[in-house]
Symmetry: C2
Subunit: 451 residues, 2 copies
């Protein structure tokens, strides 16, 4: 018999891992709720028509497609079949795909449920997504996304709320972070005031690499893309010293740039009393995705606090002026951020930041010496459980050594031993496995110890 | 532009629905934890090799298969392609499928992670599964299962624990249920003591329909399957009056039957002090699945309490002596039950048993009259949130009527109104939307009202 295995890039989660993951999700979810965001869920399978063309060519390739059931070949595209064209045949044999992110399903959700929703609609969504990426360390084909978005308002208060959510969540994790804030309009303003508005995307893509490759290489890349060398150096000079007032002066002749500055100032005005000392204005920040139009955000673990940590961004997002237009509901502004739960897990693990009691396991297990004791102990166990106290019991009066070995291996803090004497005296031998001490307690005392 | 749509048999969940679903999952999960069960998770995609052949021919047909990525046609089975054989081609173009239930993935999990686990291993798992069933009312292609199982022990204490879990969960839902208990060995004993041990499955399948089609039709079905008419009536007589002592006498010459009686008695002995008045011995209960070998369970809403409710079973399970054998790890006994979360949702909805405050929405929303008030209100909102009090704020100082309309539509209990006077006096106009009353409060009073 062949040993069972898992598909590449997928994972089982053991109880201790589930506990740590739930610790992350719970803190994120509680913060979302606190800010008045509401949960929605969408199905794992979406129509391929919903997904295709939304993530670029690369994305289309990385979508998992689900085969139609039944005799799917009878409806297969004859030409594609004879040409053995794997791309062309897909629409005729597959009409569903697995969710690739939570943004496109959310846009579809808003359009389909618009009559049930009040706008602005604040939603969060914590669900897995699937991508046929080549698996590697820290990259999986099935992983969770935690998204929080508002649609139907262009108020910059929401940018402030999202920054505060980032701050509150990472503070709850005891993780020091840097929350970078920029605005696409400022990037456009920089291009425009240097006379290269038409090269906005080229400039942005090059600037995005400044930290990685340094000024000279970025200038090189810009000149390759037909941006003048002098202009390129001027741009780098301007964003290396991120001063809003300086930028504002430089933007005298760019309306878009000026608006970007005003937006950032307005956001800072909203957060000025909130103690968000981890938020920094960073005009270098670009965020790859094309659809952002206003403020953009990115979070990373603080480099000064953790100089040895090698980890990319653990969160990001921004404002998009037309989230739902692609599904026929134009001009609906939205803003949202996402938490990279898998990377956050790795960071908390590496920095040893998970609380010691994260695993919600019972503290104690009952061990019994014979059948009568076992039945008696089971009743007591049930009384504790019905008081809301999680507790376990070895399933039979096996050899004591065997029971103790199990209790040790499982990592219980206490064993509660029931023999004839204990049963006769209505008492409990309560042993602390760490200290090795044991004492004889009555039921009320046991209850108090475990509560 | 084509309107977006969802694949057949899949659903979006609005915030109020997510809240009700989470209410169900939370009660079930808390009870599982209370009894010392630990959470695991398995990936949505399993290897088709793991899934295929485990659910019968029908099941294989209903598995969702995921297309291999890349140029899958280049590896497609040439013969199957030219014959257009949709079944035969699958292994060559698809190596992954979507999880069909939680039992087979659990068995695979136990085998693959056996060195990390201590046995008996008590696990629960609450995750969606996918089946390409024809969608109809109450039946979906994507739905949740809530499973709780123990592997690695044949102690009947676990049968008792599972019955108590059923009892505790449904009591927490305020739903009266009947929890049916039987044992496959008793069914075998009935066949054996009537000399039709070789017709055990035929008998079981026929008896399973007794409630639906009545005694005469069941006898007819048995005689069709070469069971004598007289024997058939005797069998029905025996199980119509489910008396354990009577059965025990009839089982004098069947060891298996006698063992079944002993097992049931042992389970009743474990639960005798637990107040499980909803557990009934029902020798008619068969449960379709072939792999059960000991106790079997089924839960339905109590017919006397809810005579008008039309609903099948809302839970079921049993013991299987060889859960993991199919993956190369033989002789591991397991016992488990499942909660039909989707049906439980429908029952609670129909009987109006969801608590009124199930939707975890903030109670109050702040409304502000101008920009300065809005900024001031936002700070107060943030102070409340950071005390752990969920609260919302309208995103801008829009027309008051518009803000009130939104507050009403969303269903907030209170609005907290901030104008110049409130801001100057550091006070809050607190309006109860149900009663219409309003009062002027200070911040401590607002905090107390919302806490």
């Amino acid at each position: 018999m062949k040993k069972p295995s898992l598909p590449k890039g997928t994972r089982d989660f053991l109880p201790s891992q589930v506990a740590k993951r739930n610790y992350i999700f719970k803190i994120i979810e509680n913060t979302f709720k606190n800010y008045g965001f509401l949960p929605i869920e969408t199905p794992a399978m979406e129509s391929l028509a919903t997904l295709t063309g939304k993530y670029g060519e690369e994305g289309d390739r990385l979508l998992f497609k689900v085969l139609n059931n039944g005799d799917f070949l009878s409806n297969a595209d004859e030409n594609a079949l004879s040409e053995k064209d794997s791309v062309k045949i897909i629409p005729s044999i597959s009409k569903r795909g697995l969710r690739y992110d939570l943004t496109v399903p959310f846009a579809r959700f808003v359009v389909m449920n618009q009559n049930e929703l009040q706008f602005p609609f604040k939603r969060y969504q914590i669900q897995p997504v699937w991508r046929a990426d080549r698996p590697q360390k820290g990259r999986y084909q099935e992983f969770y996304q935690c998204d929080v978005d508002v649609v139907g308002s262009d108020s910059l208060m929401y940018e402030a709320e999202l920054l505060a959510i980032y701050h509150d969540v990472f503070k709850a994790f005891n993780l020091n972070v840097t929350i970078k804030l920029n605005n696409r309009k400022i990037l456009f303003g920089i291009a425009e005031c240097h006379g290269i508005a038409d090269k906005f995307m080229d400039m942005t893509i090059a600037l995005d690499k400044l930290d990685k490759i340094g000024a000279d290489k970025v200038v090189e890349e810009m000149t390759d893309r037909a941006i003048g060398k002098e202009v390129a150096y001027k741009i780098i000079e301007l964003i290396k010293n991120p001063d809003l007032d300086n930028l504002e002066k430089a933007f005298e002749n760019t309306e878009t740039g000026t608006l970007g500055i005003q937006e950032i100032k307005s956001v800072f005005n909203y957060i000025k009393n909130l103690g968000l000392d981890d938020v920094v204005f960073d005009p270098q920040l670009a965020r790859g995705l094309g659809y952002y139009t206003g403020c953009i955000f990115e979070v990373e673990a603080d480099k000064n606090s953790y100089p040895d940590l090698v980890m990319g961004s653990i969160g990001g997002g921004g404002r998009y002026d037309d989230l739902t237009g692609v599904f026929g509901m134009p001009n609906v502004s939205g803003v949202g951020v996402s938490f990279g739960a898998e990377r956050i897990y790795d960071v908390l693990e590496e920095l040893n930041l998970f609380p010691a009691d994260v695993e919600a396991m019972p503290k104690a297990i009952f061990l019994a010496f014979d059948d009568a004791c076992h039945l008696w102990a089971f009743d007591k166990v049930m009384q504790l459980r019905r008081k809301g106290i999680a507790v376990d019991i070895y399933p039979e009066p096996a050899k004591f050594k065997k029971q103790m070995k199990y209790a040790d291996a499982r990592g219980f803090e206490y064993v509660i031993i029931i023999g004839d004497q204990e049963m006769a005296a209505n008492s409990f031998t309560f042993k602390d496995l760490k200290s090795g001490t044991q004492e004889l307690l009555n039921f009320e005392q046991v209850t108090a110890k475990l509560a």
